[in-house]
């Protein structure tokens, strides 16, 4: 059992799992809650489907970022390519995966809730779609920053 904790690949895979699972859960919640709001608007006004669909998709990006980090990591730790890491390298990869995992989870939840509010704007003032879309898009900034840090860290290890 103790061998597991001294194996670098195990730590690296744990990082991969967290990157995918946390950001994926956040996106699932965000897209889900925004989807409920979108359905509410489309029930009354189907012509707004395209606009609210874009709003619904915004919190889905964190899950993609998590997947991207996971692919890059897998291609460097001997799973899809590269070589198996030593313990220290594995721990460093684990740490590198955390930013997109944690920030992806939190930012996707908040982006989903902001998308719901923005869908409310589109429901009442569809001509303000551009402004409404900017509000949840602002939350994306922090997911992108976390993605950058994770990717830069993994490439530098």
């Amino acid at each position: 059992m103790s061998e597991l904790f001294t194996n670098g690949t195990v730590w690296a895979l744990l990082g991969v799992a967290l990157a995918v699972v946390l950001s994926g859960c956040g996106s699932a919640y965000g897209v889900g809650v925004a989807g409920q709001a979108a359905a509410g608007v489309v029930t009354e006004d189907p012509s707004k489907f395209a606009k609210v669909l874009i709003m619904q998709l915004l919190p889905g990006t964190q899950g993609i970022y998590g997947l991207l980090v996971a692919f890059v990591t897998l291609s460097r730790i001997g799973i899809l390519g590269g070589s198996e890491p030593e313990l220290v390298k594995g721990l460093l990869i684990f740490a590198a995966c955390l930013p997109i995992g944690i920030v992806g989870l939190v930012s996707a939840i908040h982006q989903g809730r902001t998308s719901v509010a923005a869908i409310g704007i589109v429901a009442k003032k569809p001509e303000q779609f551009g402004k409404a879309m900017l509000l949840p898009a602002m939350v994306e900034t922090y997911a992108i920053l976390a993605l950058l840090v994770s990717i830069l860290a993994i490439f530098s290890i």
Partner: protein, 323 residues
């Protein structure tokens, strides 16, 4: 605060709010030259329906039905709206008590769609089967029947049931996890107390009468308000100014109809913050109140038109709109 987010329902309500009447729509309705053109205007706005005759009562009744149909479609627990219907339920109790005790039939004064139908309400009062009533009605029903049978005083019967209504609303507010229900209950009871004070002053009622009629609330000391009403209109105005109801005091100074308008506007102002709330029950309750207010305003305009009132007189009576 309630954990239910009502995300789908709130978004749907946001889409429906687009069709609520704004102040400018109401102004257009006032500008219609007679009742027929008002009804045509309403039909153009989607009021009534293809199977609804061109009749004010039929159109307004259909609009009220649409409110509850929408809420049912969204699978919202309808019990949360009970507090909005308490006045109708207790009104039916009052009507039944009077019909049974006086023997005069008031066939058309009962509200429909209440949990206890008219016939059942009459049976309960006739047989004094008060246990069949909801708990918050039982004592009031018994007291009102005894008061009317022994004193024949219809007004005493009214204040017993009206106070029980306000206490039921206040209790529903206290028990609710949703801020909107609490705020609505507090505003409703406070406004009812102010109305009682003003009417008691005009009809020279005693302190005991007012204390019996007013229901306790958090934003007003009912004893202080009743004593102010005894001292005169200036005292009521001063009391309201000092207790966060300055707008009500201004309306009282202006005219009786301005005061009545303020009473309704106060409720609308209480729910207005819900326009920017993307989650919770608040926007749904606000929508129901806004639609009821809209229907009430349209009814006022139609009645004024039927009675040939001038546009300025109608404007004085028109309520503030939610959107």
């Amino acid at each position: 605060m309630s954990k239910t987010q009502y995300t789908y329902a709130v978004a749907r309500i946001r889409a429906l709010e687009v069709s609520l009447f704004s102040a400018s729509t109401i102004e257009q309705l006032i500008a219609c030259k007679d009742v027929e053109s008002c009804l045509r205007f309403l039909q153009d706005k989607g009021w009534g329906g293809t199977d609804v005759p061109m009749d004010a009562d039929a159109i307004l009744t259909r609009e009220r039905e649409k409110i509850w149909e929408t809420m049912e479609e969204m699978h919202v627990d309808m019990d949360v709206f009970n507090v909005l219907s308490y006045t109708n339920w207790f009104h039916n109790l009052k009507a039944a008590v009077k019909e049974v005790c006086t023997g005069k039939s008031g066939a058309n004064i009962f509200y429909e769609g209440t949990p206890i139908p008219k016939e059942e309400m009459l049976r309960i009062i006739k047989e004094k089967d008060y246990k069949a009533l909801p708990e918050n009605m039982q004592t009031a029903a018994e007291e009102a029947v005894e008061a009317l049978l022994h004193s024949g005083d219809g007004q005493l019967c009214d204040i017993i049931i009206d106070r029980a209504t306000m206490e039921a609303i206040k209790e529903a507010g206290r028990a609710s996890k949703d801020d909107i229900i609490r705020d609505y209950a507090e505003s409703t009871v406070a406004v009812a107390n102010i109305k009682i004070a003003v009417r008691a002053l005009k009809t020279a009622k005693s302190l005991e009468f007012m204390q019996r009629a007013m229901a306790p609330c958090d934003s007003l000391n009912v004893d202080g308000l009743a004593r102010a009403a005894l001292a005169g209109m200036d005292s009521i105005i001063e009391y309201l100014n000092g207790n966060g109801y300055a707008a009500g005091a201004e309306a009282l100074k202006e005219s009786p109809s301005a005061f009545e308008r303020w009473c309704d506007n106060r409720i609308i102002q209480t729910i207005k913050p819900q326009k920017t709330n993307p989650f919770s029950l608040g926007p749904l309750v606000a929508y129901v109140i806004a639609r009821e207010n809209e229907i009430k305003t349209v009814r006022i305009i139609l009645t004024c038109k039927q009675n040939g009132l001038s546009d300025d007189s109608i404007r004085e009576r028109v309520r503030e709109m939610y959107v």
